[in-house]
Each structure stands twice: as structure tokens, then as C-alpha cells.
Symmetry: C2
Subunit: 174 residues, 2 copies
């Protein structure tokens, strides 16, 4: 894509909660709660991570970039916070929570009436330094796709042995 | 998973058509029809491939394994057939077609009342030689996950430049 039309990432961001519900709602725990080995994430863990991002990452960083404050430093994001936060929740609760908070956040995003000039504004990422609002919003959408892909990969991993020789044709298992 | 319970792959197989509809239905062509470069597939192409598999691959191979015939050779699957078949169809038509044929095929699968003994029965794959019905059905489910993952990857690729330095954190873009 040559231009950056804000409607395009929003198309992805709007769909992800319902896509994840259709992949995971009411599925057996052997698919939703299994991971790829110690220190790796299950589908359940990924949903918790996505919720934490909605709370502490995307919108707060957009607001830092757009604010009048001269301090443009982002607060570092804790990529492991969900492991303690969601211990006692069900997958169904997390899927609902993600759907609700994403909807609220997209309403916030749209209410900002972001212009092409705004998209060039910058924030300071703790590792990368200067990044633009355009890059942040594009990353938000790709981050969704990344985690949908991760969930399908973690699920496929549960059948790594069961597929026998077909593993050779299945890129997701490599 | 230790045992092979036929209900488990069916959980995946039942969900895939509606998952793909929620990812792709009515999305901009910049997401659905773009690919990763020449000789690669768009999301649209992948749906065509999935339909072709429903018609010529999974159920026909299951039937070869379960049939009384002594000839257990599978017919080779044409992985590029969809490029000519679907030229004049819309994405929405393909998503509907996939949903219908998958539903019919899962009814066929369930009607066979496959037993644990049946799952050990063998067919002859053109490249791998002897494969079991268990492996074939597990592969059918993982093949779905593989292509959901591929579609998210091809979509993410369209924003490879737009994410700027965040590419470093996005496995889907590597």
C-alpha cells in the first residue's frame, strides 16, 4: 500500500476480537490452554497480552504523541503482565473483555480526528527512539495479525506428531 | 495431546469457514487481493485453494482409505488449480462456497462413524508412501491453521514498511 489511510488499519483492529472469538470460544482446553513448551504462551495467554496492550500500550502512546506535553517518552510495555492478572479468569471472560476494551479504544481513536499531519508526529520509544504516529498505528494492526498467527501456530503445534510425514508440507510446524 | 479424539480436529474444521469470513468478508481489496510478490498467493487465492482441497483432496482420500478396493493410491493434488478456476469469482462468493462445501464434507466425515481401528488404516500418498487415516485427518485440521496463519502473514506483509522499526518485534514480518 502506497498511502496510509487510517481506515485500513481500523479494518483489521475492528475484526480481531470477533475473529479470536470464532477461533477460540468454547473450544477444548487442549487447543486453548496448551503451549509450545515451558516459557511459551498458550492461546489463553495471548488474549491476556492483547488486553494488557489495550490498557497500557496503544492508546496511551497515541495520546503521548498527540498531547501538548513536551515529554514524548513512552512508558515501557510489560509483555508478561498478563500471567499474574488473568490467573482466575476464564477464556470466555477474556474474549469478552478484549472485545469491550478494543471497541472503547477504537472509539477513542476515531474521536481524535487524526489528520495526515498528526500521523507524522513523533514519540520516543524506549528501545527504538523516535517513531511516528503512523508507524504506531500500523504496528497496532500488524500486532493483531501477528498474534492471530501465533495462536494458530500454537494450536497446530499440538498436532505436530499426529500429522506424520505431512509435516514437510506444513510451514506452520517448522 | 496424547490420544486422537476425532472431535478435536472437527472443532478446528468446523470453525475455519466462519473465522475466514470474519477476517476477510467486505475488507478492502488492498488486504484481500494483495500478495507477497510474484508467484505468491493473496488471501483470495488461499480461499480458492481451500475449496479445491474440499473438492478433490480430503474426503476423496478418506474414502480411498476406507474403501474395500485394494488400490490405496491417492490421486495427486493440484496445488495451483484455483488460479484458473476462480478468476471471475468474488471473494464473498468463494467464502460462501467454502462454508457450504466444508459443511457437506464434515457431514460426510461424521456419517462414516470412524472407529479407532479405522484411524489406523492406510493409504498411499504419492510422495510419502504409507500414511494413516489418523495422520490424514490431523493434517486436514493443521492445514486449515496453516492457511489462516498464511492469510494473516500476507496481510501483515502489506504494512512491512509502515511499521518502521517495530519490524524487529513482529515475527510475522520475518
Amino acid at each position: 500500500m502506497k498511502d496510509f489511510d487510517l481506515k485500513k488499519p481500523i479494518e483489521i483492529l475492528e475484526r480481531t476480537p470477533v475473529v479470536l472469538k470464532h477461533i477460540l470460544q468454547d473450544i477444548s482446553v487442549e487447543w486453548s490452554h496448551a503451549n509450545e513448551g515451558s516459557e511459551t504462551w498458550s492461546a489463553f495467554d495471548v488474549i491476556g497480552h492483547l488486553i494488557h496492550g489495550e490498557k497500557t500500550d496503544w492508546i496511551p502512546r497515541i495520546e503521548i504523541i498527540l498531547s501538548e506535553s513536551p515529554d514524548k517518552n513512552f512508558i515501557p510495555f510489560d509483555r508478561f503482565a498478563q500471567s499474574t492478572e488473568n490467573q482466575n479468569k476464564t477464556l470466555s471472560q477474556l474474549l469478552d473483555q478484549f472485545e469491550k476494551i478494543r471497541k472503547i479504544n477504537l472509539e477513542k481513536l476515531k474521536s481524535k480526528n487524526i489528520t495526515q499531519d498528526d500521523l507524522n508526529k513523533k514519540g520516543i520509544h524506549p528501545a527504538f527512539g523516535e517513531v511516528s504516529l503512523r508507524q504506531l498505528i500500523a504496528t497496532w494492526a500488524v500486532h493483531d495479525l501477528n498474534h492471530i498467527s501465533q495462536i494458530t501456530r500454537v494450536m497446530a503445534f499440538q498436532y505436530k506428531k499426529q500429522v506424520g510425514p505431512w509435516i514437510e508440507y506444513l510451514r506452520i510446524l517448522k
